[in-house]
Symmetry: C2
Subunit: 392 residues, 2 copies
C-alpha cells in the first residue's frame, strides 16, 4: 500500500545482514561466532545498580526530566578528563556531544556531511554499521584495501588526488571486521594525507581500550584533531544496552550542525543512563574493570587462534588481533564464504561471511569470527567443526 | 573550516528556537511558561527505582546487553494490551516499534517518506519539533489553519485535490502549541479525507491520556489505522528522561523501512530503560498515576485561565484546553509577540512567541504558554506581569 511512497533515502538503505543472521542463530544449540556482543561477564552489574540507586537518591527528579541536547555536562567533563588521562588529549567538554550509541554518530555524520554522489572513503573491508548509515545519504563509496598495518596509503593518496572526498572513515584499532590495527607510520601518514587534501578524518574507536597488552594506541588525531571527528563509546567497556557514545568535534560550525541534527533526531540521549554512567565512572576504577575484560578477551582470542592453527587448513589465512573482539579469516581464492556459512549452520556453527563488509557486493572468500561470547571449550569445538567443513 | 562541507540536508535544518530560549530562561528567578517540561511531581521516582532494582536482579546481564531494533518484546506486548484496554484498539505487538522518544519517530518518518519537494501537510500552528525533523528532508510544507475544533477541512480537501501529498501530520488532542482538540466530526472527516486521497495520516498523541475530565479521545484512526502512522510516548506520563516513545504501523513494507532506518539511526533504543518502564507499567496502576497528573495539570491550567481572565486585556484571545500542557494566546492583529517577549524577559517572565510554530516565518501575534511547571501562585504572578505589559 505504501510501497510507492518510500523515499529515495530509504530505498538506498541496506538492512543489516548481521541482524538478520543473528535472528537465525538465536537458537541456543548453535555455537555463534557471528555476533559482536560483549561478554556479559564484562558488565559491572552490581556497580551499575549501586550507581542507579545513588543518582536517584542524590538527584531525584532531575534524572527523569528532559535534558540538554549535547549531553549531561558532568559526563562530558568526565570524558574530557579521561581522554586527558589516557591519551594526553586536550579536549574541552564543550567539544563533546553525547550520542545514542556510536551508530547515531555515524548517522549524523552522514546526514550533516554527505550530499548525493559525494565521495566517502572507507576501508576495505569496512564496518558495516557505517556502510549502512552513510548509504542512506547516497554517497559514492571508495574503498581502500586494508593491509596488515592499515590502509594502502598509495592508493589512498591516488584517490584523494582525484578530487574532493568529503571524509575518510577509519576504525584504527582492532578494526571491525578485520581485527587489524594501524602502525605508527600509517597513523602519521593517514593524518598527514587527510590534512594535505583537506579531507575530514572520521575515527571510530570502540575497541581501543581493549588492547590486550600495554598502553592503548588511542586516536590517530589525538594531538591534532581540528580536522577530525572522533567517536567513542561505553558499549564495549561498560554496557551497550544504555546506548551511550560520544563525538569529539573541535570545529564550531560542524559541532553546531551536528548538535542541530541531534536535536532533530531525538532531542537528547537518555539522561537517566547518562547520570548512571557518570556516577559509575566517577565511583569506580574503570581501568581496573577494563583490565578484567582484556584478560578475558585475550584468553578467548588465544583459544580461537590456537584452534584455528590446529583445525583450519594451512591455505586459510587469518589475522591475529592485538585487542578487540574479532578475527578475520580468508579462504583460498575462489572459495565462497557464504557457501561455507550455509553448511556451517547445518553443523550448528555461525559466523559472518565477509560480503556485507564490502561495498561492491562481491561473493567474498572472507569471514568474520567473534570470540567474546563463547567459552574457550566452545570456541575450540566451533572452530573444529568449521575446519572440518573447510576440508570437505 | 568545515563550512563549505555541510550537506544540503543539514543546511535545511532549523535549530530549535525553543531550546535556545530555554537556555536564556534557566535563570531561577524567571517565571517560565516557555518550556514544555512535565511537572517533576509527575515522575514516579520511588516506583521507577524499585523497578530498576527488580529488573537488574531478575534479568541480570540481559538488561545491559545489545537488543533488538524494534524494541523489547515485553514492552511492545504491554503497549498493545494497553491500547486494547484504553482505546479498544486491535494492535499486534509486531506492529509496534519502540523509538528514542517521539522525536526519533518524526525523524524516521521524514527520512523514510519525504523526497525533496514532496508535499507535507501540517496544522497551522504546528508542533515545531515536527517542523524541524521534516525540514531536514526538504519537503514543501502546506499549513492548514487550525480552527477551534480541528483543521479547516475545506482547505484541507482543496490541497489534497491539488495532488499527491505524502502525509498529513496532526496532533489531534490538546495540540502543541495550541492546546486545541479535534471534534468528533472533524476526526471522522480527517480520516475519510486521508483515505479518499490515499494520503498517510500521521497522528502524534503525546498528551492524549492527560484529558482533565472523562475518557481520553484516543487516536483518530484507532479503529482503522492501515493508512496511518500512530505515535505514542511515555514522556508525559512516566518520564521523558528515558526517551521512550513508540510507533504503530500496520503496513509491512513501511514498517520494514522504518525498522531499517532505526537500525541505521541507533541500532536500538536504550534497553535498560525499556526493561525498567515495562516493569514499572506491569507492577503499578498507570491510570491511577495519570489521574494524579491530570488533577495537578487541571488545577494549574485553571489557575492560568483565571489569571488571564483577570489580567489580560479583553482584546487578547486564548484557548481553554481540555487537557495537555499548553494554552495559546492571540494578541490583537498588528501586535508582535516577539516584542512582548523581549519586554517580558526584562520583567522576568518567559513564554514562546508563536513564530517558530509557523512555516512561513511570520512575525506572529500569537504565543504559547505552558502551565505545568509553576505552582498556581507563580502562574498568577507571571500572568499578571504579562497582562501589565500587554496594556503598555
Amino acid at each position: 500500500m505504501f510501497e510507492e511512497k518510500i523515499s529515495e533515502l530509504s530505498l538506498a538503505t541496506p538492512s543489516s545482514f548481521i541482524r538478520s543472521i543473528l535472528k537465525t542463530t538465536q537458537n541456543n544449540d548453535i555455537i555463534s561466532f557471528a555476533g559482536g556482543l560483549p561478554n556479559p561477564i564484562s558488565f559491572p552489574k552490581e556497580e551499575l545498580q549501586e550507581s542507579t540507586n545513588r543518582v536517584i537518591e542524590s538527584f531525584g527528579s532531575r534524572v527523569f526530566q528532559y535534558s540538554v541536547t549535547a549531553g549531561l555536562p558532568e559526563l562530558r567533563k568526565y570524558i574530557a578528563a579521561h581522554l586527558h588521562e589516557t591519551q594526553e588529549m586536550d579536549v574541552d567538554p564543550e567539544e563533546i556531544i553525547v550520542t545514542t550509541g556510536s551508530q547515531q554518530a555515524l548517522d549524523m555524520i552522514g546526514k550533516v556531511l554527505i550530499n548525493q554522489d559525494d565521495t566517502v572513503i572507507l576501508e576495505e573491508p569496512a564496518y558495516l554499521g557505517a556502510i549502512q548509515a552513510f548509504s542512506q545519504y547516497r554517497p559514492k563509496f571508495t574503498a581502500i584495501p586494508l593491509e596488515s598495518d592499515g590502509m594502502d596509503m598509495e592508493k589512498l593518496e591516488e584517490k584523494l588526488k582525484e578530487g574532493a572526498a568529503k571524509f575518510i572513515y577509519t576504525v584504527p584499532n582492532f578494526q571491525n571486521p578485520s581485527g587489524l590495527t594501524y602502525s605508527k607510520e600509517k597513523r602519521e601518514a593517514l593524518h598527514k594525507l587527510s590534512r594535505k587534501y583537506n579531507c575530514i578524518l572520521v575515527e571510530d574507536d570502540p575497541y581501543g581500550d581493549l588492547k590486550f597488552e600495554g598502553k592503548p594506541y588511542g586516536y590517530i588525531s589525538k594531538h591534532e584533531f581540528d580536522g577530525s571527528i572522533l567517536l567513542g563509546t561505553f558499549s564495549k567497556t561498560v554496557t551497550p544496552g544504555m546506548r551511550c557514545g560520544y563525538m569529539i568535534i573541535r570545529d564550531p560550525e560542524l559541532r553546531f550542525r551536528i548538535n542541530t541534527a541531534k536535536e532533530a533526531a531525538d532531542l537528547h540521549s537518555n539522561v537517566f543512563s547518562q547520570y548512571i554512567l557518570w556516577d559509575y565512572l566517577t565511583h569506580n576504577d574503570l581501568s581496573k574493570h577494563i583490565e578484567k575484560i582484556k584478560q578475558l578477551y585475550k584468553n578467548q582470542s588465544s583459544a580461537m587462534i590456537a584452534a584455528m592453527e590446529r583445525y583450519f587448513p594451512e591455505s586459510v589465512e587469518f589475522t591475529r588481533p592485538e585487542g578487540g573482539m574479532f578475527i578475520w579469516a580468508t579462504l583460498p581464492e575462489g572459495k565462497i564464504a557464504m557457501e561455507l556459512f550455509e553448511k556451517a549452520i547445518e553443523k550448528q556453527v555461525a559466523f559472518v561471511p565477509g560480503d556485507p563488509f564490502y561495498i561492491d557486493g562481491r561473493e567474498a572468500n572472507t569471514m568474520r569470527l567473534n570470540y567474546t561470547n563463547c567459552d574457550e571449550k566452545t570456541i575450540t569445538e566451533g572452530i573444529r567443526r568449521l575446519g572440518e567443513l573447510m576440508r570437505d
